[in-house]
Amino acid sequence: MQPLFLTFQLAVIVTAILFVLGVPLAYWIVFSKNRFKYIIETLVSMPLVLPPTVIGFYLLVVFSPTNFLGHFLETYLGVRVVFSFTGLVIGSVIFSLPFMVNPIKAGLESFPLTLMEASYCLGKSSWETLRRVILPNIKPALLTGLVMAFAHTIGEFGVVLMIGGNIPGETRLASIAIYNEVEALNYDTAGLYALLLVSISFSILLVFYYLNRKSLKIF
C-alpha cells in the first residue's frame, strides 16, 4: 500500500503548492499590462503539449549533481533533487501547473470588472479585493483547478519516472509500481493498484462534478 500512500501524499503537497503559486500567477497573467506576459502564458501551458519525458529529461539535466544548479543545491543546501521525493514534487508542480492556472485564469477573465472597481472605490487594496471579493466569487474555478491539479498528479507517470526513478518508499508511486509489477509478471498486485487508482480517481471526479452541478451552494 506504500506506493498508493506516497501518491496521495505527493498529490496533496503538489496541489497545495500549486494553489499558492497558481492564484497570483493567474492574477498576474489576466490583469498585468506587461507586453510580454504572453511568454509566461505560453510557458505555463507547455506541459500540456510536451511529452512528459521531455520535461523529465530537462529536469534531470538541470538538477543533476554534476551540473551547476544541482551541485549548488546539494553542496550548500544539502538538498538532492534527482531520484528523491523533493524531485517528484518539483517535477509534478511544473507538470501540473497549467491544470491549476488555466481554470483560475478563465475564472478571473469572466469576473466582472465593475465589482473590482467598486471595491477600489471603497478604498480597498488589490490584495483585499482579491481575497474578499474576487476569490469568493470564482469558487467553481478554484475548485476546478484544485481537483484537476490533484487528479493530474495522481495520474502522472513519465515525469516522475524520469526524475524520481523507482525507489521503494521514496519515489515509487502507484503508477510506477503498476509498471514495475507488470514487468515482474505480478498481475494480481498490479491489478489491485490499478483498481484502487481507478476507484479513487473516479470518486474524486464524481464528487467534483456533483458539487459543480449544485452550483457550489454548499461552500
Binding site: L115, E117, A118, C121, G123, K124, S125
Partner: protein, 297 residues
Amino acid sequence: MIMIKLRFKKQMHTPQGQEWLDVDLNIARGEFVTLFGESGAGKTTFLRVLAGLTDPQEGHIEVDGEVWFDSQKKINRRIQKRKVGFIFQENALFPHMTVRENLEYACGDKKTKGSIEEWIVSLGLKGLEDQKPDKISGGQKQRVALIRALINRPKILLLDEPLSDLDIPSRMNLQDEIIKAFQKSNITTILVSHDLSEVFKLSKKIFVIEQGKIIRSGSPQEVFVNNNFSGKFKFTGEIIEIHKDGVLNIVTLSIGNNLTKVMASDEEIAGLAIGSKVIVAAKAFNPLILPIKKGTL
C-alpha cells in the same frame, strides 16, 4: 467655493472612431450637477477619469484643494485614496455578500459600522439585511448601492445612470431618496443621465456633453427651455415604415417607446428611408397634456 476643478483630454474609442473627451469645468462645493448627453458622448468616461478608474492623456484634476491628477507633475492619486462614492449603472453589489455584509465591507471603522442600522431604516431596507443581492429588487439594490457609496462620507458622489434600469415607479421613488440623501449629506454630486425629467427634478446645474465636448451649461431651464424647445412640440424618432396612400405617404415612426403615424408628402420624405432618424415637430396647434391613470402604463 470651488470643490472640483478639472480640465483634461482623454482619448475615447467610440463606434464612430476615435474621439477626444476634452473638458474644462469647475463645480462648486455642495452642488448637484448633471452631465447630460447621448450614449457615447463621454459621460461615463468623464466619471471614470474623475474616480481614477482610467487615466486621461493630459490635464489637471483638483478636488477639495488636493491635486488628484496632473500630467505635467506626474501626479496620479490612486483610486483608493481619492475617496469617491461611485454608483454604477449595474449597481455592482458583491453577489456573495448579504446587504449588511456589503455595507460592512464599505465601512472603514467601527463607528461607521454603527451607522448601518440607521441608513437601512431610513432607506426602507429593514428586514432585507440578510438577503443576498439577487433576492432583492432593482430599486432596493440601488438603495443599498447608494448607502454603500455614502456611508464612508466620500468627498464627492458620482452617479452613473443609476436609475436607467429601473421601472418608472421605483425610479421616481429612488429620485426622491437621492434628493433626501443629498440634502442630508450635502456631498458634491455629479449625476450622469439622459433622462430629461430626471435632470429637471434632481439638479440645479447641468452640463450638456456632445461628442466629448461640453456644448452648453446652466440651469435646466436655461439649457433646455430657452435654447432648445422655444415652446414648440418636438420629438426625435426613427422611421419604421413608409406606406404610400394615394398622393400622400403614411410614415410610421417610433418615438421613445411609442409608435405613431404621420402623413407626409413625397417631397418631405425624399431622401428618407426606414431607419432614418427624424425630428417630428408641430407648429400650428397646441398639444394637450393629459394625466395618465395609474396602472395603465
